[in-house]
């Protein structure tokens, strides 16, 4: 087997006395999608932010294409990051810019494309996520939640990154719109041949977009396997989570 695109080893992060990530080992093979499931506060977002370099982990290594990005000089680190696209949970669209400026933001920042040309490219990319190019002239605040997600996706794929991150892509959407977004994500990842990591607690979404799956619980990965096996994994914690049972090995801490 070839080297994984993303290799995480012993990743540990604590905020004060609370350990959020506790020795995470995770491999994602090139061109595959990994979904990380887990309850609220299990450290899913922190894991993504560590790989993106938005949070500095306390210990461990993160290799992308065999290079430990935590030990790269800042300029090279930025070059690695330029090849990562991310869809944020709430979209994180720049509300001071129009939709097309959002989509073309990376293009304008990176390749210094002329505005007219970037405008046209943005229209093409918007069409790829099922939006009419005329949406480009609206401001993000004028869009519905599902449309904002699509624009966020368009922005993430605009610079054709080879790694894509999705932070709870279907949270806050109705089931049909969730399925539409999932479909778009799968299409985009396939078309770009990207390696993807998605974090979610939506089981339908997890099985739709993931090749492989892992479950995070209290800062540790308690299970890894095929995403298709999520609903019958044989692991009691995964079973409880995927089937949404109140009783099981995971006891909700109501008060801390």
């Amino acid at each position: 087997m070839s080297d994984p695109k993303i290799r995480v080893r012993g990743l540990t992060k604590a905020f004060g006395a609370k350990t959020v990530l506790d020795g995470i080992d995770l491999d994602v093979a090139a061109g595959t999608s990994m979904v990380v499931i887990g309850g609220s506060g299990s450290g899913k977002s922190v894991l993504l932010k560590c790989i993106l370099g938005l949070i500095e982990p306390d210990a461990g290594s993160i290799e992308i294409d065999g290079r430990d990005v935590l030990r790269l000089p800042r300029q090279e680190r930025e070059q690695v990051n330029a090849r990562i696209g991310m869809l944020f949970q709430a979209g994180a669209l720049f509300d001071s810019l129009t939709v097309w400026e959002n989509v073309a933001f990376g293009l304008l920042a990176q390749h210094k494309a002329a505005r007219a040309e970037a405008r046209e490219r943005a229209g093409t990319i918007l069409a790829q996520v099922g939006l009419d190019p005329s949406v480009g002239d609206l401001s993000p605040a004028e869009l519905s939640g599902g449309m904002q997600k699509r624009v966020g996706l368009a922005r993430a794929i605009a610079s054709q990154p080879d790694i894509l991150f999705f932070d709870e892509p279907t949270t806050g959407l109705d089931p049909i719109m969730g399925a539409v977004i999932d479909g778009l994500i799968v299409d985009c990842v396939k078309r770009l041949g990207s390696t993807a990591i998605a974090i979610t607690h939506d089981m339908a979404s997890a099985t739709r977009i993931g090749d492989r799956a892992a479950m995070l619980f209290r800062g540790k990965l308690v299970w890894q396997g095929q995403a298709a096996d999520l609903l019958h994994s044989g692991n009691s914690m995964v079973d409880q989570f995927t089937h949404g049972r109140r009783e099981g090995p995971i006891q909700m801490e109501l008060r801390r």
């Binding site: 990051n81 709430a90 933001f105 920042a109 610079s159």
Partner: protein
């Protein structure tokens, strides 16, 4: 029992906190400034911040200047006429406006207007992940958001203060000639006789420092805000309060530097 050492510990904690915050702000400002000399540059962002700082602050700064110039003329007349020293009024007005009131009042007004807006905007961008998103789009947020605002503050506030100086003197002139019966040309002559280049330069240097401080506080508190709507609210408050206090403190320090001998 109250442990007397508790009081010592509290003082120590406060001191450490203050030193740490000062260091963090200084590092933040230095990082922001360092981006001003390294490409790429975001002219569009600078222009936006500059217009916000200067053009949209003009009405409030202009009104402040006119009324404070007028009030100084009025107040010094009631005081000075007792000693028959009315002739000093033109000088009092121009010196207080150019040296102190122009920069300080314009600074305070701009801190309330632009500093608050800056902190709220960056704070909202922080809590909605927009600042993190910039990083994933090959854009350094310090370079894109902070550096242009620092430069805009540095340049725009002195320009505002030039306007404030002129209007402040005009306010004093109006009250003195229309209400107090001064001779217009005599008033203007004594105004320009007493004013020196040092006064103007010192006032504008103060304005540049205040503009930088306003932008620095707005950016620092906004950029580092956390915790949703409440966090953005307190970042905005902190930005305005910190900028206002720093303006008054630096005003003293700079006055000491320029005028004390």
């Amino acid at each position: 029992m109250i442990d007397p050492l508790d009081a010592v510990a509290a003082v120590g904690r406060g001191t450490i906190g203050a030193v740490r915050a000062t260091g963090a702000v200084a590092l933040f400002g230095a990082a922001g400034l360092s981006h001003l000399v390294r490409p790429p540059f975001y002219g569009r962002m600078f222009l936006q911040a500059f217009i916000e700082f200067s053009y949209f602050s003009l009405p409030v700064v202009a009104l402040t200047a006119v009324f404070s110039g007028a009030v100084i003329a009025l107040q010094s007349f009631t005081g000075f006429s007792r000693f028959g020293a009315e002739s000093a009024i033109a000088g009092i007005v121009v010196l207080s406006v150019v040296r102190e009131l122009g920069p300080v009042l314009a600074g305070l007004m701009v801190a309330g207007r632009v500093g608050a807006a800056m902190a709220a905007e960056l704070g909202t961008m922080r809590v909605t992940d927009q600042i993190d998103a910039l990083g994933t789009l090959s854009t350094n947020p310090m370079k894109y958001l902070v550096a242009p605002r620092l430069l805009a503050g540095l340049i725009a506030v002195p320009l505002l203060v030039i306007v404030a100086d002129v209007l402040g003197v005009a306010g004093g002139f109006l009250v003195s000639t229309v209400k107090l019966g001064f001779n217009p040309s005599g008033y203007l002559t004594s105004t320009f006789q007493i004013l020196t280049t040092t006064d103007v330069v010192a006032g504008l240097a103060k304005a540049a420092a205040f503009g930088f401080l306003i932008a620095l506080m707005g950016c620092y508190h906004g950029y580092n805000s956390k915790g949703g709507a409440q966090g953005v609210g307190s970042a905005t408050t902190s930005a305005v309060v910190a900028a206002s206090i720093l303006i008054l403190a630096f005003d003293y320090v700079l006055t000491e530097l320029f005028f004390a001998r």
